[in-house]
Amino acid sequence: MTIIETEGLSKRYTALRGAGTLAVDGLSVRVEAGQVYGFLGPNGSGKTTTIGMLLGIINPTGGSFRLFGGETPSELHAARQRIGATLEYPNFYPYLNCRDNLRVVARVKGSDEADIAEVLEIVGLTSRRKTKFKACSLGMKQRLALAATMIGDPELIILDEPANGLDPAGQREIRDIIRELARRGKTIFLSSHMLHEVERTCTHVAIIETGRLVREGSVDDLTSAGTVAAVGSDGDIEVLRRAVSEFDGASHARVEDGRVLVRIGGGGLSELNRFLAGRGIYASHLSLERPSLEDAFMEITGAPEGFGEIQ
């Protein structure tokens, strides 16, 4: 069953002068039931705008979309009752405590106190349920947002940068919760910059850039294309990285685990080895590796090196 389907979905933000900004440009994606779908793109690529249109807070200016097969306003409203979502920064009533904020959500979703208690337990906020939202740390706010998405046991969960601002332990907790939700058979639509996490969590991904879909497919399909060489040397790793960067067709050379990982184009390992030897650098380790999702993402979008690591 198709849960989300967009066809030529577009959003142009109007401006008093000029043509405005085309944030989403003819986007067509499909998310099937049970998929954990990563929605990737550089900052400003239109991810949040797309999710905003799906959730009904932003009016599309072109194209169409269906949620759970529904397209008319009443069908979409009914479909949205089956969705739990977070979008950007968590926004709740600052003067209400965590539990009262969830009560507001629970009434809308027709849930009860038991459901609130359960989701608070899942996100680890039971002991902080009486803390006012304005007194919550960013991590607690993110957890509260995640708890709100789970109220009413939705079939589709849409998460927009759910681990933003969290420390590594918090990020791991969020990842575990997402995996648990996926294990329970929920369809998850996840927008994130954390490509390592997406690679570990998602079954499918779409990559968008400047509002356009540039690639959609399974994570396996995306990461099986392309070639990455891993090069080690006993010398200075930075000298090695610079040298490797100058190899014909090489791009996005980076240091990882004491090795240089680099995407290589036409040339193979023997050409790279000969190139380095010609520069007086002798590789102690040389191998081909399966590209990571981050490699694939940078290849496709031409994103700057280091993207996906900076939070």
Partner: protein, 277 residues
């Protein structure tokens, strides 16, 4: 979520959010204090007119614009912050449709009005009941005209509050919405528009009586609903050597207030639906 369930959820959520908000209780408490102080002196002195049914002319009269202003300001305070905190957006993310969010806020308007008008009527009523000699009463203590005046005050609040509602949803900022609302009910409607109409459209001066705030004034006056109260008022004015005004039929002002309410809420709805959250 549809129909009666949606109505119930919106009503409960809006009341829940309002009653948990300190600003709401501070505003209501301040108004209650203001009202109490206003009636404290005649109550303590046992003034001649401080009895039923004479008191209704005071409850539905001079102080009525104040309750409308207080309630409208409180509505803006409670509602505009939904945009600053981005909770309007969050509510829609959490499952409300934009229309439902809008109607939730539209329900908040009469809720706030009821709370303030309740305080406005209840405090003097309780005080005056203590002072009233029920055995000596010659006329019904609570005539039908009290209900009419109450409905008129409610309708007057809705029309003036609808302007606050529209400005809140269009401007989306507390300070700016309050400033524009004050500008409208103050200098614009009372000064600039009459001056412009008198100068350029003198034949239409009578229409100025039907602008949202000006239209509300005849609805505030108890004597416009109660012939006996008007006679007492006219006698007092004549005794002071002035010509008493003719009674105003509040019906058309009531209809106009309803029309303003529908128009301003309708514009707010169209504007809200068209804009992103």
């Amino acid at each position: 979520m549809k129909g009666a369930r949606a109505f119930g959820v919106l009503l409960r959520n809006e009341w829940f959010k309002a009653r948990k908000r300190v600003a709401f209780w501070i505003a209501l408490g301040f108004y209650a204090f203001f009202t109490l102080m206003n009636y404290a002196q005649p109550f303590l002195e046992g003034s001649e007119g401080f009895r039923l049914p004479d008191m209704w002319a005071s409850v539905f009269g001079d102080e009525s614009p104040t309750v409308v202003i207080f309630a409208s300001l409180t509505f803006v305070l409670l509602s505009a912050t939904e945009f600053g905190w981005r909770t309007a957006r969050q509510n829609v993310i959490d499952g409300l449709s934009k229309s439902q969010w809008f109607w939730g806020k539209a329900l908040l308007l009469p809720m706030v009005g009821l709370a303030f008008i309740g305080v406005h009527v209840l405090i003097p009523t309780v005080l005056v009941l203590i002072r009233t000699d029920f055995a000596a009463a010659e006329a019904p203590l609570v005539p039908l005209s009290v209900l009419q005046a109450g409905a008129g005050l409610g309708m007057a609040f809705l029309s003036v509050g609808a302007l606050a509602f529209l400005l809140t949803l269009v401007i989306r900022k507390t300070g700016a919405a309050l400033a524009v609302w004050f500008l409208w009910v103050g200098p614009i409607e009372s000064g600039m528009l009459p001056a412009l109409v008198s100068r350029f459209l003198p034949d239409y001066r009578a229409w100025l009586d039907y602008l949202p705030f000006t239209n509300a004034f005849p609805l505030f006056e108890f004597r416009n609903y109660d012939a006996a109260a008007h006679e007492r008022y006219a006698a007092a004015v004549e005794a002071a050597g002035r010509t008493p005004p003719a009674p105003v039929d509040p019906t058309w002002h009531m209809v106009t207030a309803a029309a303003w309410t529908a128009l301003l809420v309708g514009i707010a709805y169209i504007s809200f639906r068209r804009r992103d959250l």
